[in-house]
Structure formats: structure tokens, C-alpha cells
Amino acid sequence: MSTSAPDTAVAPDAGTERPTSGELLEVTDLRTTIRTPRGPLVAVDGVSLRLKRGETLGIVGESGSGKTVLSRSIMGLLPGRGTMLTGSVRFDGQELVGAPESLLRSIWGPRIAMVFQDPMTSLNPVHRIGRQIAETLRLHLKLSKKLANQSAVTLLAQVGIPSPELRARNYPVELSGGMRQRVMIAIALACGPELLLADEPTTGLDVTIQAQILDLLAEAQRMRHMAMIFVTHDLGIVATRTDQIMVMYAGRAVEFAPTHQLFANVRMPYTEALLHSTPRMGNPSHTRLAAIDGRPPDLVSRPPGCSFAARCPYAQDKCREESPMLVADAAEPDHFYACWYPRGTSTPVHPQGAPSDA
């Protein structure tokens, strides 16, 4: 891959001193409520997480578990009316929840950027792709038109697009899905963000392209000391590319652990089910993980107890009555899960009422 071109033309952060380590993002009890005709829908329900500079967090869950809403809530990229955001998102010490749109706009692009799921719909069909990249450079870095266009070409080269000068003048319709996703990545990387949110960036692509895009993201991240939140429904994809993994179900974090610990010792039955339904590497990624029977609960009127109870093979009466809290594993303090009857090895320690009758 030709992505190793040096960061010359676009080195927005070259002059400014930017720390390469330390806490970058701190999300506390984030809750997103969407107004729907049937009533308020709690799409993200009390999620907390932390991310250091340069680290990667994987967010995994079935379709509909709230990953997209969560990543957009973190960014503050939700429409004002119809959605309500509570809790706290501190980005580099700055509170984003409730921040004015003008502050968010100055952060979107140069500091936090997002790669969207569907490359076929996320590029503006009526603008040349070079212009779509140059647009942010001109706006945020105040580059001249000429310089911005040159940088756009360099970025296209960096994301591995052949003959970038010609391609810059193409419209999205003239590009394949994989190419468009590279363009999307170039747009996101253009201003050198400190945090990249990648929302299922490879879901619509076929396997070989998928691997290339993943490598591209990993390389960009390493070179730019960029933190990344990588959203996917495929545990297989995040297994080797993340520092931590958060498993989401029905808008909640149900298991949260450093990647190696999670795979070594899966505690939450939902994670287990995900793992079993994960397509083996090499299978076409389009095979959907339909392997878990049943459907996620209705988020407008959530049943009491564990959200997974209706589908969980280990569910007992208690699961249907009381909601399990996210608690730390006794043996691995970094490993959190929300389950009354966890899988795996060590004994769970619950703050209130240990499962004495189990």
C-alpha cells in the first residue's frame, strides 16, 4: 500500500505543540433520548468511557444496539430538536454536552472527525472529491484555494488513491465503494484530528478492501498519534486492532475490558453469543450475524431486568426482575461486565446482593 507517503503537505499539527499522551476523552453517564411518535426512545443509556491519546477503543454490538447514536452523541453531532443529550463528554478538558454549536463547529474537523458507515451516501454527489477535502482545509486551516487543492491531492495519495491529481476532479459517482471510503477517510484526516470516530467504516465493503481500509486507518493513527473509537458489529475486526473493547447492547455498555482480557475471559453471555456468531476471518463479511436468536428489546418501553434476558440461554428469574449493574471483575479490575450469572472463571463480586442462591 502506498500510504507511507510522508506527512509533508498536510502537517497542520507540525507547528503546534500537541501532547502525545494523557487523557483525551472522558464520557460520563451519557444518555441520548430520541423523540419518536411512540414516545421517548432511550438510544444510549448511561454510557461512560475514557480514552487516552493515541489509543483505540472498539465499540461492538449488534445492529440497533446504539453504536451510531453513541458515537454521534460523543461528538455532539445530533439535531437539537427531537433529541436530548444528558451526562458529560469532556474532550481535552472541555465539556461538549450543552456546548454552543459554534464551539462544536470549531472542534469538528480539526480536533474530532468521523468516518461514516456508508461510503455510497456520505459524500456529496454534486461536488468533486478534491473540493470536498479542500473545503475543511480552507475553513479550519485557512489555506489558500491553491494550497488546499494541493493538500487534497496529497491526502488522496496518502489514503492510497492512484493518480490522485486526476481523481481529485472526479465526482463520487465515478468512484467505487472502497475508493469512496478512502476519500471519506481523507476528509476526516484532513485537518489532523486528535480523535477519530470510525462508525463501521468497512461494513459495506468486501473483504479484501476491508482489510486495506483497516490497515490504512491503523497506519494513519500510528503516524498521527491519533486516538480512535472504532465502531463495528464484528468482534473479529477489533480483536487485533484495539486497546480496549466496549460491548454494547440495547444502548448500554454490557462488557468493557482491555482487548486481551476480554478475549481471554469473556464474562457476559451476550459477548459470548457475539463471539460465536462472528464470521471467521475470510468469510464474506456480508454474512450478517443473525446467529443470536430473537430481537433486541423495545427501547421506548424497556422491560425490567437485564435487557438481554429474553434471548439469554442462562437467564433466570432474577434477570427478568433486576437490572445488572456494570461491575468490575474481582480478579481483573479493568474488566467490567453487567450480568448476574456471568460466564468465565473468576467469582463475581456484586456490590449489592451476591448471587448466594446460584
Binding site: S63, V69, P79, G80, T83, D118, R288, P296, V300
Partner: protein, 302 residues
């Protein structure tokens, strides 16, 4: 800030699944027609009844002058609620009988347009291929041709009778109805159950009658209502130009045209037919739009 509903783009399949999962049966409030919709229907019913039973309203004869010199251009009075026009004719009576003309032309013209345009549109979309392309091309030409020129010529040489106006306005609405029916049919002809019926060897007529027609009906109803409004408007324009039914027969259009050309006419003479026409068009277009929105699933989510 752009205030638009949150949308998250999912892969087609999963989104539908999620939506299905979240849509608990029976809990979605059914979309209802609002108060204004029923007002519109009420108005339409009222003018229809008045037009039908005009003979029983004990009005003065609409076309015969009232032969009292004082009654020329008389203002509204108890005897003549809307006054009398320059030929001493009772304006209310002319308005009521004019409604008959406008509504009958609208109704029959629409019937012709829907009958021909609707069946051609469905047929064309069903058979596809060369016939479809040819028909669409012909319709496209008719749509581009300034109908008013042909209508003016033809009426002048054939005569300005109600039946000619009906036929001509009906025929010129065909391309419009053809286009929307064809689009609606195409949208549902690609649905699974229709493809299934076709592959099981159902005859074309059966598929059209059993599977396509019922599904195109809602769109067709809405566009019937729009066409009705369109034909009434065109008839009004012709009347205004003095090219619709001829005086002394009244239609709303020629009443407006006549009154506006007469400097002695009071405002009421214009206002009465103009309001009647405007309210009718509002009622038709609003009702049509509501029907369209109610049945058009692609716009419901907006």
C-alpha cells in the same frame, strides 16, 4: 442548527429489522385526516349539493334578464342576495348555476382523463419495453405542447359547447395522469408479490386487476382530485378569456371575466365567483394532498 430528525444510516436489511423490532404492533398512532380536511370535504359536498339541487332553491332564472331597469348592476339586497349584473340577472342564481357548469366540466373531463390516462399509464408500466418507451415519448410531447393554443383553436372552430370543452380538457389532462399513474404502477409492479404473481403465470389482466390496480388506487384518487382542480382552473381561464361556455350561460370563469370587464360592476360580482372558485380549489388541492400523503409511504417519514 439544522432541525431535522436524527437519521442513522444502517445497512438496508438491519434498519428494517430494527424498525420492525421497535414498532410494536398497534402502538403506532394511526395517521388521521385533520379537521381542515373534513372542512374541505364539507365545502365540496355543499357546492355539489347546491349545484345538483339548484332547481329546488327557488332562485331567479340565471340566464333570463329580470327586465326591471332599476335592477341593472344593483347592489346586494334582500331580493337579490348578491345583487344583479349589467343585464339585471340575479348574481346568486348565476353563481349557483355556474357551479353546475364548472363542476360538470371538471367531473366529466376528469373522468375522460383518468379513464384514458390511468389505463394507459398502468398498461404502459406493466408491459414496459418498447410500447412503454413509445407511449411515454408521445405523452412527453403532449406535455410539452402548449395546450392552450390547441384548445383555443379547436373550441373556436368546433364551437364553445360544454361537451367540446369536456372532451378537450379531458384529453389534454391525459398525459399528466398517464405520467403519475405510470410512476405509481412502476413502483408497485416491482414489489415481490407482483413479481411472484407474474412468475406463477397469472395473466396480465389478472395481475393488473388484482395486484396492481388496488395498490395504485390511492395515488389515482389523489391525482383525480388534482386533475379535477386543474380542469376547473383551465375552464375558468377559458371563461375569463370568453372562450368557454358562452354568455348568457354562466360559469365561474366567465362571470369573473365579464364582471372584470365592466367598470360599473361592484366588487361583489367578482368576489363571489372568485371566492367560490378559490375555496373549491383549496378544498380539492388540500384534500388531494392529504390523501396522497396518507397513502404515500415514501413521504410519511418526513
Amino acid at each position: 442548527m439544522l432541525d431535522i430528525p436524527v437519521t442513522t444510516v444502517e445497512q438496508g436489511v438491519s434498519d428494517a429489522e430494527v424498525a420492525a423490532a421497535n414498532a410494536q404492533p398497534g402502538t403506532t398512532p394511526p395517521k388521521r385526516f385533520g379537521f381542515f380536511f373534513w372542512c374541505c370535504l364539507g365545502w365540496l359536498a355543499l357546492i355539489a349539493l347546491v349545484a345538483i339541487f339548484a332547481g329546488m332553491l327557488h332562485l331567479d332564472p340565471p340566464n333570463a334578464p329580470y327586465y326591471t331597469p332599476i335592477a341593472v348592476n344593483a347592489p346586494p339586497s334582500f331580493a337579490h342576495w348578491l345583487g344583479t349584473d349589467d343585464s339585471s340577472r340575479d348574481v346568486l342564481s348565476r353563481l349557483v348555476y355556474g357551479a353546475r357548469v364548472s363542476l360538470v366540466i371538471g367531473l366529466l373531463g376528469t373522468a375522460i382523463g383518468i379513464g384514458i390516462g390511468g389505463s394507459l399509464g398502468m398498461f404502459s408500466a406493466y408491459v414496459r419495453g418498447k410500447i412503454d418507451a413509445g407511449l411515454s415519448f408521445v405523452m412527453y410531447i403532449f406535455l410539452a405542447f402548449p395546450a392552450i393554443i390547441a384548445v383555443l383553436c379547436i373550441l373556436e372552430f368546433w364551437g364553445h359547447t360544454e361537451s367540446h370543452i369536456v372532451v378537450i380538457l379531458g384529453l389534454f389532462s391525459v398525459p399528466f395522469i398517464y405520467r403519475v399513474t405510470r410512476a405509481a404502477t412502476l413502483a408497485c409492479a416491482t414489489k415481490e408479490y407482483v413479481t411472484a404473481a407474474r412468475s406463477q403465470g397469472a395473466t396480465a389482466r389478472r395481475v393488473l386487476a388484482k395486484d396492481i390496480f388496488p395498490n395504485v388506487i390511492p395515488a389515482l384518487i389523489a391525482y383525480t382530485v388534482f386533475t379535477f382542480g386543474g380542469i376547473i382552473t383551465t375552464e375558468g381561464a377559458l371563461g375569463f378569456l370568453g372562450q368557454s361556455v358562452q354568455i348568457p350561460i354562466s360559469s365561474w370563469g366567465n362571470m369573473i371575466g365579464e364582471a372584470s370587464g365592466d367598470l360599473n360592476a361592484t366588487l361583489v360580482f367578482i368576489l363571489a365567483p372568485a371566492s367560490a372558485l378559490f375555496l373549491t380549489l383549496v378544498a380539492l388541492n388540500y384534500a388531494g394532498e392529504q390523501i396522497r400523503l396518507r397513502f404515500d409511504t415514501s413521504e410519511q417519514k418526513l
